[in-house]
């Protein structure tokens, strides 16, 4: 079923009775060529590209709950490709390009909205680092602009320019950055994958891997054993738990990141703004809610909820940056599980077990990578070769020392 304005009109006229399920609800087959574990954004995108671009078939996505119940359904919806390092930037820029064509690719309006992302700087050192990063972005084919204080003031006059503890010196602007309606990403990929024959199996929790002589044969699930030629795991947040079933220890810790949304307000904030002297970033959704977040709570957690000190820290940053939001009300706060990796960068790689592939370690930056992550993971599953934008994202990079450490924080996940 193709979606269009005409279709909406026609259906409206006949009482919306003709809409079909966005994805089927099939029973598991005994065996698939490809099993993707994890029905989040990355897993569903992987299935979509595997079927549509790499023309593979006999594909299933296994989701322990409902699709999109992980971090694709609980994030702050930001997309951008403003990374510094060559190990990262090509992947995120590839992702941004895929976002730009997503609606046409999926025939689903995920509301990709390129209203820009502005990172503020408050010191000469930060500005130097932004210049290095902005230049690296341009050299990698992305867009970037370095704004001085006056340009920032003109763009976002409501920031605190007169009384700031850490005066705004300028900012790094990526106009192609922005936001996407996060749930719709999962649904759009699911719909497209389903239409290409992918079986999306919800309430199907993987409880074990069947591995013989170093070769993966299939997975045990809450809906029975399912055989597979290749298994790709994309379960960020639960990576360690799932991969432990295959006997692997990962360079990953699970942490909680809180996010926040305010009551709906008339338009106030044009794009995404990040504070450079505290932990705060913000955008405003199409519905009108201010969507914002800050730093992770900082301790290992699977509890999917955080504590007050970080809430206060984030909102202190918010009030320091834009004191006009004081009388807006915080409506809801929630916590998501982050795969915090040892250098702050993700993994898309083979594992030591043949036929078993891993995609994870996204820290709190996985949402923006969804299209490219799916694309390059599909590439790896289909060809057994890393995609050209993901050659550095190896699981064994710490053995060689080829870290991709954007922040320079070292092997301490809660600092990334």
């Amino acid at each position: 079923m193709r979606y269009s304005a005409l279709k909406v009109l026609m259906e409206g006229l006949r009482g919306n009775t003709g809409w079909k399920p966005v994805w089927r609800d099939p029973d598991p087959q005994p065996e698939y060529d490809y099993i993707i574990v994890g029905g989040g954004g990355h897993g569903l995108a992987t299935a979509h590209y595997l079927a549509k671009i790499y023309k593979r078939s006999r594909i299933a996505v296994l989701e322990k709950g409902w699709i999109g119940s992980g971090n694709v359904g609980r994030n702050t919806t930001i997309i951008r490709s403003n990374y510094l390092l060559d190990g990262n930037e090509p992947l995120y820029e590839f992702s941004l390009k895929l976002w730009e064509g997503l609606e046409q690719d999926l025939n689903y309006n995920a509301m990709v909205s390129q209203r820009g992302i502005l990172n503020l700087c408050h010191s000469d050192g930060q500005r130097d680092a932004f210049r290095r990063r902005g230049n690296a972005m341009i050299l990698n084919g992305a867009d970037a602009e370095l704004l001085d204080q006056d340009q920032v003031r003109e763009m976002v006059p409501f920031l605190d320019f007169k009384n700031a503890r850490f005066p705004i010196k300028g900012g790094l602007l990526q106009r192609r950055g922005g936001t996407v309606r996060h749930d719709a990403v999962a649904w759009g990929y699911a719909r497209s994958a389903d239409s290409h024959g992918v079986d999306i199996l919800q309430n199907c929790e993987v409880t074990g891997f069947k591995i013989e002589k170093g070769l993966v044969k299939g997975v045990e699930t809450s809906r029975g054993y399912i055989g597979a030629k290749k298994v790709g795991v994309a379960v960020a947040g639960s990576s360690s738990r799932v991969m432990a079933m295959a006997g692997l220890r990962l360079p990953i810790e699970s942490h909680v990141l809180q996010a926040f949304v305010s009551e709906g307000l008339k338009p106030l904030i044009p794009g995404v703004i990040t504070f450079g002297a505290g932990h705060f970033y913000i955008s405003q959704s199409d519905k009108g809610g201010l969507v914002f977040g800050g730093d992770i709570d900082g301790y290992n957690s699977y509890a999917q909820r955080g504590n007050l000190p970080v809430v206060e820290d984030v909102l202190e940053g918010g009030m320091a940056l834009m004191p006009m939001i004081g009388r807006a009300r915080l409506l809801r706060m929630w916590g998501g599980l982050m795969d915090m990796s040892m250098d702050g960068s993700p993994f898309i790689d083979h594992t030591p077990i043949e036929g078993l592939y891993f995609n994870g370690g996204w820290c709190y930056g996985g949402f923006k990578a969804t299209p490219a992550s799916g694309y390059v993971f599909a590439h790896l599953l289909a060809t057994d070769m890393p995609h050209e934008t993901a050659t550095a994202l190896r699981l064994d990079r710490f053995r060689s020392g080829a870290m991709i450490d954007e922040k320079g924080a070292g092997a301490q996940p809660n600092l990334h």
């Binding site: 060559d86 210049r131 690296a136 307000l265 008339k266 006009m324 009300r329």
Partner: protein
């Protein structure tokens, strides 16, 4: 004109007449009114518009769960959008505007959406607005954004202040209804430290809304008596206007106290609101219950409200939404509303009870087995249509309809730690799960105990049980006799049949049809339905909506409600102002300032200051006539190179290391050796992280065999100390060594330049020899200055000149800078700031923050050979990994522009001459750049691939951000005195 709908009685102060305005029109009400009760008294039923279809709406509830009556409260910079008028206390001069309508509340152009409703069904936007491609961001989205949103923020800085506080107690009691009051009485009398928090401005909870008698007197008398006793107990803290909004780990609760929201603006020096972090040993939730509606077609007209709210307005505020009302119910509680209104003289046209065994009444008609199936009256209810049990229909004229669908316990706080409530069939509602974690107990209606008697008893028992955990014995108090009616309810969730729309989520305009459509499209999990339809995502978080949607889903799937599931409630219980969470941490008070010992003196010199972490440091010292910062900085740099300058370097981290094993300890910390450093000598040291990357650098001075003083960079002072404590306590706990940070204990100044010694000799007491022979380069020692003041002297240099760092106890820092400047007059001494410090160190080729950014190896910094392989130090092993040892890695170099007028910018990238500028050809980047008065041009430090082998090459410095592309010569990073002779004179 006040009060055509005003009844007798109520908890209002009729002697206190308050005037207010709504949408520019003036009205009056009484003390004790809320904005809603006062509007109802003035016969105003239309109060808002819904989010999506802009349907006219009136008040639906009498509490903080209100979905409809949202207004912009106050004006100017204090405008508060989305304020629930049900909990806005009336004050003299209150102004409120309706919101999300244009041009007016009665005529809203966007109500046109309502006529398009069939095309704007759930999720329609995911299916369209995709063509033409460019139109989404340019046309569709801007339109949607303008149409969406509710109220408007002022866009001005919030003029009010907020505060934060911390409270500790044995027992936190959340909610001061009958259950909470009984609990507080019980715990208070037992001597426990008690906090009783109530979101309302009055104590009493649901008792205030009821007409029932306690033993033989009015509930208000009992409340007054209990309140008086609690106020008199020093161990009980009563907090009204205080919402406990969240439960966190280990008994910690977040609460917001609205100190000044009931008055026009805060009194001088008073905050608007306070964020309380409450540390409780035990907590008791008595948050009551929220009534739920029974959706039917067009159940959203102004005048249709919850029956319990209708009763609350009549009993507490003595108002009715209309003089003729109908009640629609599935349980006995609806009859109570009809009874109370009837007794107050309101014409109860009928009680429509869907049950077949409804109680009867002499005062009003009860129609059993019947349903309300529709309504009429666009801007205010005119009539409801009902269907008898035989299927025949009738219209009943009325101005208000009370709907009673049963009550849901307010379990929210019990879900904040991800507890899931469980279904109770007796009351057809979710109740808090019995938790093994007894830190939070639940009593009263929040526990599903709905009678007043049950609330009183369970509150007292809850307090006894909670205190028993703490070893505090409490006695069951004498409590008044109260009604103990059973909950007679027939599960009846919504009216079936019909072709129109029946609203579940009033604010977000989610109808039963929307739930059906979502399910039809495959959104079957509760969470999917919620996200696809936006049910429960509005400012009321679906407090009156969610259960109805579950019931609809249960019917579609042929399951029971608990099988379909529940949704998790997340903090906050009700929305909380953002400013409250920030407290005083905003503006200049966002973070504390740390001031250097010479700050006062520097301010007297009109120094320009710069934020360095939390420190404020002098950036440069402009003299009269200097109009550009470069004039000042160049002058300061030249003065240091020519004569002598002074810089406050107190901000560098200082760590005192003492103990018999101090040297061995430092051998572990630094990658280079320290064991053999003689007493009286200082050595540069590089600290690696365990992953082999450079962490920090500084100097270590050996004052005695068992005593070192080390420095760290300003930025890493805290983390380096933490790391060293980790090494000491966790890795080598057997070493005899102690650490203490002395950053704040010593004021330290750098005295640098060819005349530095002459200057120092004027203040160092003469029994200390600081000649080049007596105190050579890298010497250190404890000395006295100015006639006996103890000090530490280090002959170390960041500038590349003959230099000393002199440290005195911090309290003498101000005196020392004044003495040094005075003594240095004959040498034309200058104070220099962080800018000149930066230029001097770039000229000298010293690494700083831009080079030590956590991504550099020792080899990159040109210190690869410093990493001693003869001993075990942190980072040595992993520094040996192949990628960190690769020969084509970056190396620190200097850059000198070919055209001396060119300006090099830090952050520019390096490309080989003749190569395309792209990532694949990237050769490195400029880390630090400055104008060097010494060289007479822009100079820079940079990391260049194989840079150590490319001195003398010409390379391009590209800056695509501003189309910069200049050529520069690769040099040694040491632009000045590469042999280090000036240091040693």
């Amino acid at each position: 004109m006040s009060g055509i709908n005003r009844l007798d009685g109520g908890q209002i102060d009729r002697n206190n007449v308050l005037t207010f305005s709504f949408d520019g029109k003036r009205y009056s009400g009484f003390g004790g009114d809320t904005l809603v009760s006062a509007l109802l008294a003035n016969n105003v039923r239309l109060m808002g518009r819904s989010f999506k279809y802009h349907r006219p709406r009136g008040v639906f509830t009498a509490g903080s769960e209100e979905p409809n009556a949202l207004v912009e409260l106050r004006s100017g910079a204090r405008r508060e959008p989305n304020s629930r008028a049900t909990v806005a206390e009336l004050y003299e001069g209150l102004t409120a505007q309706s919101q999300n309508r244009f041009p007016s509340l009665r005529f809203d152009a966007l109500a046109f959406n309502d006529t398009l409703a069939s095309f704007l069904s759930s999720g329609f936007y995911y299916k369209t607005f995709m063509w033409p491609v460019a139109f989404w961001e340019k046309v569709y989205e801007p339109f949607i954004r303008r149409a969406a949103g509710l109220g408007r923020l002022s866009g001005e800085e919030d003029p009010d202040t907020y505060d934060k506080g911390f409270l500790h107690c044995d027992l936190l009691i959340v909610g001061a209804g009958p259950s909470g009051l009984a609990a507080a009485l019980t715990a208070g009398r037992a001597g426990a430290e008690v906090i009783l928090a109530e979101e309302d401005f009055a104590l009493g909870g649901r008792l205030l809304a009821e007409s029932g008698i306690l033993t033989d007197r009015l509930a208000s008398d009992w409340i007054e008596e209990v309140t008086a006793e609690l106020v008199a107990l020093p161990n009980v803290r009563l907090m009204t206007r205080t919402t406990v909004f969240g439960q966190y780990d280990h008994g910690i609760f977040g609460a917001v106290e609205r100190v000044s929201d009931h008055i026009p603006e805060p009194q001088p020096n008073k905050p608007r609101q306070i964020l309380w972090r409450i540390y409780s040993k035990r907590a008791l939730l008595n948050a009551g219950a929220t009534e739920r509606p029974i959706p039917f077609e067009n159940n959203d007209r102004p005048g249709i409200m919850l029956a319990g709210a209708m009763r609350a307005y009549a009993n507490r505020w003595a108002v009715t939404a209309a003089r003729n009302v109908v009640v629609f119910t599935n349980n006995d509680d609806g009859h109570r509303t009809a009874r109370d209104l009837s007794e107050k003289g309101v014409d109860v046209a009928a009680v429509v009870d869907c049950r077949h065994n409804a109680p009867t009444s002499a005062d009003f008609e009860v129609i059993e087995g019947a349903e309300v199936i529709g309504s009429r009256g666009r801007l205010g209810l005119k009539a409801v249509k009902m269907r008898f049990k035989d299927g025949s229909e009738r219209e009943i004229a009325c101005g208000a309809l009370g709907v009673a669908g049963g009550w849901n316990p307010n379990v929210h706080l019990t879900c904040h730690k991800r507890g899931r409530p469980e279904w109770n069939g007796d009351i057809s509602a979710f109740i808090p799960v019995k938790s093994e974690d007894s830190a939070l107990r639940v009593a009263g209606a929040a526990a599903g105990i709905f009678s007043t008697h049950g609330a009183l008893q369970s509150g007292a028992q809850g307090a006894i049980d909670a205190l028993n955990d703490l070893g505090i014995s409490a006695r069951f108090p004498a409590l008044p006799e109260a009604e103990d009616a059973p909950v007679n309810i027939a599960p009846f969730w919504y009216v079936k049949g019909g072709t129109g729309r029946a609203w579940l989520d009033l604010q977000n305009d989610v109808t039963i049809k929307d739930i059906n459509l979502a399910h039809q499209e495959g959104f079957r999990s509760v969470e999917h339905v919620k996200r696809y339809t936006t049910l429960g995502m509005a400012t009321d978080q679906g407090k009156t909506a969610n259960i109805g949607a579950l019931a609809v889903l249960a019917d579609i799937e042929g399951k029971s409600i608990p099988e379909v599931g529940t949704t998790i409630f997340r903090p906050p219980y009700t929305p909380v102002s953002i400013g409250t969470f920030a407290g005083r941490s905003r503006g200049k008070e966002f973070r504390p300032y740390r001031l250097t010992p010479s700050h006062k003196w520097a301010a007297e010199q009109d120094a320009v200051f710069v934020e360095v972490g939390n420190w404020l440091r002098a950036q440069w010292f402009p003299l009269k006539g200097e109009t550009h910062w470069r004039q000042s900085v160049d002058r300061e740099v030249i003065a240091v190179r020519k004569s002598v300058g002074i810089c406050d370097v107190t901000t560098l981290g200082k760590i005192d290391v003492q103990g018999a094993d101090a040297a061995e300890f430092l051998n572990h910390i630094y990658c280079n050796g320290f064991a053999k450093l003689p007493v009286g000598k200082t050595r540069y040291g590089l600290i690696l992280r365990e992953d082999g990357m450079a962490m920090d650098d500084g100097t270590a001075a050996r004052l005695a065999e068992d005593h070192f003083v080390i420095t760290t960079t300003t930025a890493n002072a805290v983390s380096a100390f933490r790391h060293m404590e980790f090494c000491r306590q966790c890795l080598w706990p057997g070493l005899d060594v102690q650490l203490i940070s002395t950053t704040e204990a010593w004021a330290q100044f750098s005295v640098a330049g060819p005349n530095a010694r002459k200057l120092m000799q004027k203040i160092v007491d003469t029994d200390h020899d600081i000649t080049n022979e007596g105190f050579p380069y890298m010497a250190c020692g404890e000395i006295t200055i100015c006639g006996g003041l103890r000090a530490r002297l280090f002959r170390i240099s960041f500038s590349g000149e003959l230099a000393y760092e002199i440290a005195v106890p911090t309290r003498y820092g101000d005196a020392l800078i004044r003495r040094l400047i005075e003594a240095g007059k004959e040498f034309d001494v200058v104070p220099y700031g962080t800018e000149a410090l930066g230029v001097l160190r770039i000229e000298k080729g010293h690494a700083a923050g831009n080079e030590l950014n956590g991504q550099s190896t020792a080899a990159m910094l040109g210190m690869g050979r410093m990493v001693s392989q003869k001993k075990d130090s942190i980072g040595r092993v992993l520094a040996g990994r192949p990628y960190l040892q690769r020969v084509d890695d970056y190396r620190l170099i200097g850059l000198l522009p070919v055209n001396l007028d060119s300006v090099i910018l830090a952050g520019a990238h390096l490309m080989n001459v003749g190569m395309e500028s792209c990532a694949a050809n990237d050769q490195g980047w400029v880390t630090s750049a400055a104008y060097s008065p010494h060289i007479g041009s822009s100079i820079a430090l940079a990391f260049l691939k194989k840079g150590d082998q490319r001195h003398g090459d010409v390379i391009r410095i590209v800056n695509p951000l501003s189309d910069g592309d200049i050529e520069a010569k690769v040099t040694s990073p040491h632009f000045i005195d590469p042999e280090g002779e000036r240091l040693r004179v």
